[in-house]
Structure formats: C-alpha cells, structure tokens
Point group: C2
C-alpha cells in the first residue's frame, strides 16, 4: 500500500516491480498493481494505456539501472580502448548474471519482451551498441584498433559475445569456466580489431 | 504399424521419430511408440532402458544426419582454410535453421536435451568442435592462421558464433540480414585468426 500523495508513473512502476517479484510475469495483472497501490486498475490505465505498456516501462527502468554503470566504463578515457572493451564485456556479463540470479521474476519479464521484440528490449540493445561503438571509435582514433565502420564493428562484437549477454542463454551463465571462455573470445576479437 | 520381422533398435528409433513428429516431445510417450510398432512398451524398454535413453538415441541419429555433410566441408583440403571455415559456419547455420523450420517437433526434443545437458547434446557439440579444430589446424599448418592451441581456438570460434547455432536462439534465425551478420562476424574472427 502506498503512502498518501498523487499517483504518478514512478509510484506505479515501483509497485509493478513488487507485484512482478511476488507473482512472476505470467500471473501478475494490472488489478494486482492497483491493489498494491490501493487504487482501481482504471487509475493505473490512466498512466499506462495497456498491460504491455506497463511491462515495457518497468523493464526499461530496471534495465537502465545497469546502463549507467556500463556507460561509466565505456566513457572512461583513462583506460586504453582494448582494455576498456574487455572490462565492459566482463561487466556486462556480471550485470546480466546478477539480474538473472537476484531477480528471476523481473528477468523472466524481460525475457518475454525480448521474445516479443518489444521497444524496451530493442532500445536496451541500441543503448549497449552505442556504448560499444564509443569504445571502438576511441580505439580507432588512437590507433589501437584498425579503422572500420564503428557501428558495424560494434554490432559484430556484440553478436560475437551473444553467449554472454543474450537473456535466452541465462541458464548457462553460472557454468564454471565461463569467465575463461569470455577471456578467450575477447582475446580473439581484440586480435581481429587490431 | 511395422512390417513383420524382429524388433531392432533402428526400427524403434524410426517409429519414435514419427511419434515425436505427431505429438511433440511434451506429449509423446513410450506407449505411443509401442502402439506405432504394434508391440508393448515393455518390448521397447528391452532396447532402450528409459524414455530419456530413447529420446537421447533418436536425437543423436537425427543430429548425425547433418554431421556428415559438415564433415565433408571441414575435411575438403581443396578449399583454403579461411574460406573453408567461413563455408562451414554458413553451412552450420543453414543446417540448423532447416532442422528448426522443417522438423519443429524433433528440434524441440533436441532443445530439451540441450537444456538438460544430455550426452547426445554434449557429444554433438564435441563432434562439431572436432571438425572446427581440424580446419583451424590445417590453417595453422599452411600459415593461413597464426599458431595457437587448435582445440581452444575452435572453442573460441564456436562460442563467438553462438548466435548462429545455439538451439535456444532458433527463433531469430529467420530474421532478415542474419547472413550478413554472420558474414561480418566471420570477417572479424578471420582477422583475429590471421
């Protein structure tokens, strides 16, 4: 139940996260969110036109929590671009794995968005690609990486590391040796970028 | 219903494939396989000790149909190793996509094996890694690829192409542009191997 005050989008999103944590994405309903807030589901629909829009917004907010930590690595020009690329990929795996492990219901909600090609999932990937592109462009500028189209190269690196960030493969992120696996793939990719 | 004759493992596996195609892996039972053959399920259990063993054997046979075509590419020493590596990866995607599209029920049975880390799935990956390793070793021997541990390099290349062969990602293999995506990843990997 919320504290008194006007019902804003942020309050609804926090309540939706709680409801998703409790019931999981298959069972959680907008009525549950309304109950959590002590309002009707119609009041929720005033802010989010559909259950899909609400799910999209809650996943977007949840995904953005990692985005800023990753962006800080991507833009840290103190670290040489090859080492920065590797750190970023290691941090991406760590962040995704923590999300899958610590908040399985919210992760499951996100998996549904990915399967459905939702705007939240597409924008999240675009965000990550933008960060990667910045690291690659820095490396091309300072001569650590061979000159090429940074956007296309970012997509190639992201695709080549699918095993370490695609939500459909989350079940295998706790396998022993996955860090070493990422290390070997990074070394091969860095050799290709030089 | 089978023609008369002794009940052998091969006959049971063909019947199991038919039953899986008809009912899918969630619903197909050993009793269905027995009915298909006009025998009791006990007769089936004489050849395969459990439903899991039967499912493993049928997937193994089904997967091996592609293995030989891929092995022919991997061992074709007329093709220079870099081009051979690329052809092999393109053929792998084509074979996996055809299986997912043409035989969705058998593909679903295979997905269950992968999720369960079954021996059939592990052996299939080991087969593919062995083929990749042979191409890489040829390339290291003739100077097309830099010298490194061929087995570890094979694993790195296989991991970096997860997006194009992991059964958990089959839903995205029909996306337009996937061939171009593979092409760009191949180019990056080949640059890393040289």
């Amino acid at each position: 139940m919320r504290a008194n005050g006007p019902l804003d989008a942020e309050t609804i999103l926090s309540a939706t996260e709680d409801v998703l944590r409790r019931y999981g994405p298959a069972k959680a309903t907008v009525v549950d969110v309304g109950k959590e807030l002590g309002v009707s589901h119609a009041a929720v629909y005033k802010h989010f036109p559909s259950k899909a829009a609400l799910r999209d917004a809650v996943s977007r907010r949840w995904l953005n929590r990692d985005r800023d930590a990753l962006a800080a690595i991507a833009s840290d020009t103190e670290i040489p671009p090859p080492r920065r690329l590797r750190s970023w990929l290691v941090a991406l795996l760590a962040a995704k794995r923590a999300k899958a492990h610590d908040e399985p219901e919210l992760f499951a909600a996100y998996q549904l968005l990915v399967t459905g090609n939702s705007a939240a999932a597409i924008d999240h990937v675009a965000d990550l690609l933008g960060q990667l592109e910045a690291v690659l462009a820095d490396g091309m500028a300072d001569g650590s990486f061979r000159r090429a189209d940074p956007a296309e190269t970012a997509r190639a690196v992201f695709t080549a590391t699918t095993r370490f960030h695609h939500p459909g493969l989350a079940g295998s992120w706790t396998q022993p040796g996955i860090e070493h696996e990422l290390d070997v793939v990074c070394a091969l990719l860095l050799d290709g970028l030089r």
